[in-house]
Assembly symmetry: none
DNA sequence: AATGAATGAGTATTCATTCAT
DNA sequence: AATGAATGAATACTCATTCAT
């Protein structure tokens, strides 16, 4: 009663996000969400048109958070190389610190989100566009040398995603130290570009 | 009638693999598989104990195919650097040529495969162990320089997986040419290691 | 429409009880119950968690009714022999007047009720405990002579159950009059004890 | 190989009888029987037209065994009272020594055997008819005094059945010794008749 | 004497959703 | 802002039985 009331809509989002992460899309049901929120399933429909809309909201929110997180870390950097590194670092950091949100962006979609309006995924590109632009400027400043900044940016993103998802899915070889793995992977991705530049 | 009869068991596997790829685990149902195979759902149970067993068979088969594909390409190479490249190339190639099998290894698991006997995933490691060993030998021969071959191998695998899955999930920026993306990504992953060596 | 509305929950219990009696446990299905109640099978789950819970409710209710019926008839009797007779009479009477409830207590269990919490069957013992106590007091008052009141009570109960179930299962020889059979059986069970006493 | 080959037909009967006793009708399936017999379900149909026929065979066999067991014990007795006691004793004894067969006679029927041709149950009456006849002769010889031998016989049978089934269903109060319970119950049933006679 | 392949009807249960209140 | 009652379609799986061999 005296506690701060979390609006039901937010509660539903939190519960769904968590359940999605813990148990996967397949066992995410309106009833289970409702039960955890101590309301009836019907109540969810007051805030979300249907299950898809609820999921879309979840994705949009995660995508927005990821973009903003990266921008917050990268935009303050005025040096392009610094910014380049910041984007990469913060991308991985977001995955590690907000696994539930990170996973929603990638996992959900593959399962059910053919239906997710592609258009909205464009938004997700904000951070990517920033990376492209940073690489372009670095190239202009002869700090880097790449054939195609677009391709380079996408490749970096893909590689980082591979690194993050291996860790989040708990597939890391048990003999390997997580922090070491992440650090060296990041370094490898970054160096792959910088060294070439420094060589030239 | 006069056509070559494909055994029902194999038909079921093919259909399941395809449906899994096209529509995801969650919409894979025994009934749908049966309908596509023009048999009753009951018939599936003549060949597979239950849905899990069917999926496990699918995974096992994919894992085996991937391992063998890589070995076939890499083992003939006697030079370690050649073998190193061959492993990487063939891994990506397998993903591109056998997307359904590739996806099963990764996609299915996250959803349902907590139940998949971990022991059998060890098998999946055959190619990975080969990569580790190749790196170790390259290091001994001073062809490469890495802190920890185990970590390096895992990092390479993760990055390649990121690259492959971005393509398979159709998430590639429409302005980007797929072949170029793959080629440059592979080169980047490879060069990241070799250049360091050549520098030293 | 103008009829008194019987709550669905009660309807389901009535229908289940009846079907159980008429067709046995094995052919009792949620679907059939639903069809008889003119609702979908899903609706049953609004009132009962699952089939077992539905059956348990049925058993509990029958057990409770039997106990109360006997107590209602027997407790008012102050004389122990009167009470002894009343317990026996009312036990059989309950079986004859409420065959569906009587049968549930015995028939269902053997089939599915290993799962039924034993603890709840203790309740069923209320009438039995009353019989034990009544015999004990009768013995103390030298109105009866038995080796062991516990054994005597159980033996009486078993014999009565045999008598009742023969009738309810329609196994009575067609040449035999039901009422006569019951009356003489009861008398025999009772006299078996009292005569010994009167002899001494 | 060198073992005595039990004909499959008998194996099936043995397995079915045992499964019926252990797990109840509801979980008795042709497939499970077949699996235990190491044959396919189809093979059962070589010996039994269908599941019902298999069960009927089981019942018939049990009924025959019970009748013969009682006759073997009772017919040699020339004295009617001895024979009366022998019938009762051997009935209970059969239940205790052949619980699987005993249970089939009673348990199965209630569940599925509405379909069992009543005519065949007449056979089951052989022992009962013997009891009736024995009582009739005892009455003629003024060794007993009963209103109606038919009713008396049926009542005895019912009471004994109650006693046996309480024990076989494991419903005996844990504080009660099984042997004592049976002995006293039998004695009570017998004495109920004899004492009256001895008094007169 | 026995099998292997297949079926059709059935089982309990779960799900997203709707509607009247 | 939220509920309670209900649905229709789906799920994995089991069963007795049949048929060709």
């Amino acid at each position: 009663m005296s506690e701060v009331e979390v609006p039901l809509r937010d509660q539903i989002l939190d519960i769904s996000r968590h359940m999605l992460f813990k148990e996967g899309y397949r066992s995410l049901s309106m009833r289970k969400i409702a039960k955890k929120a101590n309301v009836t399933a019907t109540s969810i429909y007051l805030y979300f048109e249907n299950k898809d809309h609820l999921l879309h909201t979840l994705i949009e929110e995660s995508v927005e958070d990821l973009s903003r997180f990266i921008e917050d870390q990268a935009l303050p950097k005025t040096d392009n190389i610094d910014r380049f590194k910041a984007i990469i670092q913060s991308y991985v950091e977001f995955g590690m610190h907000h696994p539930e949100k990170y996973e929603i962006i990638y996992r959900v979609r593959s399962d059910s989100m053919a239906r997710y309006p592609k258009e909205k995924f464009r938004k997700a590109r904000r951070a990517y566009e920033l990376l492209v632009q940073t690489i372009e400027e670095s190239v202009e400043q002869r700090l880097m040398e790449v054939d195609d900044p677009l391709v380079a940016a996408y490749s970096i993103w893909a590689q980082l995603h591979g690194v993050v998802s291996v860790v989040l899915n708990g597939r890391l070889d048990s003999r390997i130290n997580k922090e070491q793995f992440i650090e060296e992977s990041i370094e490898h991705v970054i160096q792959g570009f910088l060294e070439r530049a420094s060589v030239s």
